[in-house]
């Protein structure tokens, strides 16, 4: 049994224009000690998926309209708020995009980590503090003893993201959801954070769900990836295979717009291309057609008439495209 199973998940957002499915018929599984990556532009439903897994959809606006989320076989879509709160932190943790704003500014970093330890593991004040220092050491913050007494504003962006990871790890979660963990950081710090996450996964056996729009990050971190477009799965499969041979024009677009530094353009590396157009507005979501059609170079009448079927290829690669075989 997989650690996490998501089946035909449908999440609806209620807006002024009515109800729109921000997640439409999404299914995937996550095995223990696996890293799965969600890729896609802004507004494709990546973060919504993460919030749904945590049971933290915006109150009164978003709701699970159908499908199942099973964690260790336990259904989460119908779990009580108290049970969800228990699972959050203990079993599933999350690190957020903005390390600058996701730490509480009025408490020291050590206090914030110790607080989580006390709440979840019932440690005493001094034992929790000692372990907080150890965790800061584990996420490679130099001089952890001294830095534990620092306030978040005294730390750099990279250090804060490390502190966030320490908080998320304090409860020894089985799944760590990282929502664009390095978007706000510069490239060298990004590489350090990826290193850290990889090492921590090896040491603790935590599964990681990484949400990003950076194909480079995916290639570096994940074993499998899901490409999302307009709330739907565009393509799913092993990272290497997809990067090698993407079957969905949107995936191909995402891959070809990653820049490589090269003095001379060769046939292997043509001009950097973009995916023209933008993600359709929420009103378009849920239409019975290929939602990528408006931006696709290979669009045919079939794409506009019906939603594309899931076409399976070797090694579990699935692409939602009418013309997947042709690519």
């Amino acid at each position: 049994m997989a650690l996490l199973e998501v089946e035909n998940l449908r999440i609806e957002l209620t807006t002024r224009d009515g109800t729109a499915p921000v997640i439409d018929d999404l299914s995937f599984t996550l095995e223990a000690e696996e890293t799965l990556s969600f890729v896609g532009e802004s507004g494709c439903g990546k973060s919504m998926t993460a919030l749904a897994l945590m049971g933290l959809l915006p109150e009164g606006i978003g709701r699970v309209a159908g499908g199942h989320i099973r964690f260790n076989g336990e259904e989460l879509t119908t779990a009580t708020p108290a049970r969800l709160r228990e699972i959050r932190g203990n079993d599933i943790s999350m690190i957020f995009q903005e390390p600058m704003t996701s730490l509480n500014p009025v408490f020291t970093v050590g206090e914030q980590i110790a607080e989580v330890l006390r709440a979840h593991q019932g440690l005493s004040r001094s034992a929790a503090w000692d372990q907080a220092v150890e965790l800061l050491d584990a996420v490679r913050i130099p001089n952890p003893k001294g830095r534990a007494g620092d306030y978040p504003f005294q730390m750099s962006g990279g250090q804060r993201q490390r502190a966030m990871i320490a908080i998320a790890l304090a409860c020894q979660p089985k799944i760590l959801i990282a929502d664009e963990p390095t978007t706000a950081l510069d490239v060298t710090v990004q590489a350090q954070i990826f290193d850290l996450l990889r090492d921590l996964r090896r040491q603790t056996g935590t599964s990681i769900i990484m949400i990003t729009h950076d194909m480079g990050a995916v290639a570096e971190m994940a074993e499998r990836m899901i490409v999302m477009y307009a709330g739907r799965q565009a393509e799913i499969g092993p990272v290497e295979q997809i990067i090698d041979h993407a079957r969905h024009p949107y995936t191909q677009g995402l891959i070809s717009c990653v820049p490589h530094i090269q003095a001379v353009l060769t046939d292997d590396r043509p001009n950097l291309v973009e995916v023209p157009g933008i993600v359709p507005s929420l009103r378009e979501f849920g239409k019975d057609q290929c939602l990528f059609a408006s931006r696709c170079a290979h669009v045919t009448q079939t794409c506009l008439d019906a939603r594309p079927p899931q076409k399976a290829f070797s090694a579990g690669q699935i692409a939602d495209c009418w013309h997947a075989e042709a690519f």
């Binding site: 932190g89 943790s93 957020f96 995009q97 509480n104």
Partner: protein, 294 residues
Amino acid sequence: MSDKPIIIEDETPKAQSPFSEAWGMFRRNHAALVALFVLAVIVFMAIFGPLLYPTDPFEMVWAPFSPPGQEGFLLGTDYLGRDLLAMVINGAKVSLLIGLAAALVSIFIGVSIGALAGFYRGWVEELLMRITEFFQVLPTLLFSMVIVALFGASLPMITLAIGIVSWTAVARITRSEFLRIRELEYVMAARACGVSNTRLMFGVILPNALPPIIVQSALMVGSAILFEAGLSFLGLTDPNVVSWGQIIGSNRQYILDASYTVTIPGVAIFITVLAISLVGDGLNDALNPKLRQR
């Protein structure tokens, strides 16, 4: 040219804690610093004054209406021949205590209601804010007079009456801060760690909402002292304790013959409330991040 090598001091700047940073900002406001000193003197007088100047404020010590400075009575005597200095000293304790306690009552009510309304939104907010508006439009002096008249003029009841009519501003400030802070990422991050709603409200959001609440509370101590003075001027006070407002109230018929009996406690109220307001202003400078840049 000196042949001494230049030594660059290797001193990593130690960042300040929020408290010392706030104190640094407060210190720059000289008026607030002076006011803090004045307030400290008044509080000292209220606590130790009766020991240092042990004259009974209710005892007739000399002929009535003896002007200040005569016969060894620094501030003179009132219409019953009581020592005004002793009355002012003893009145300080009651005025300050009621001011502080009433402010605490209104902070307690205001913060609870504002926090619940701002955190839970929806019908809870709707209901609580309508209640707040109801209290806001009541004529405050009249309402507190009714409470005191109905339930008796004891100190706790006066405190409660003042607290009950003045919590609305705190509730509104607390609610608006909660509305702002509950959407911030660190609150979401705390939720993602499985923090309970009560802890979110009072352990995560409230500490971040405190600065404006503290400033408002400081100002409220001042207005509560004024309120108490107003009530006791009207005679709604415990006759067995001296307060500044009560001295003014009991001497008001002789305002033309012996104006000092009214002026002296009035000045005491004025200085105290002014000092508290200035300290509140200093706190605002110290705690409001938007003013930090100045």
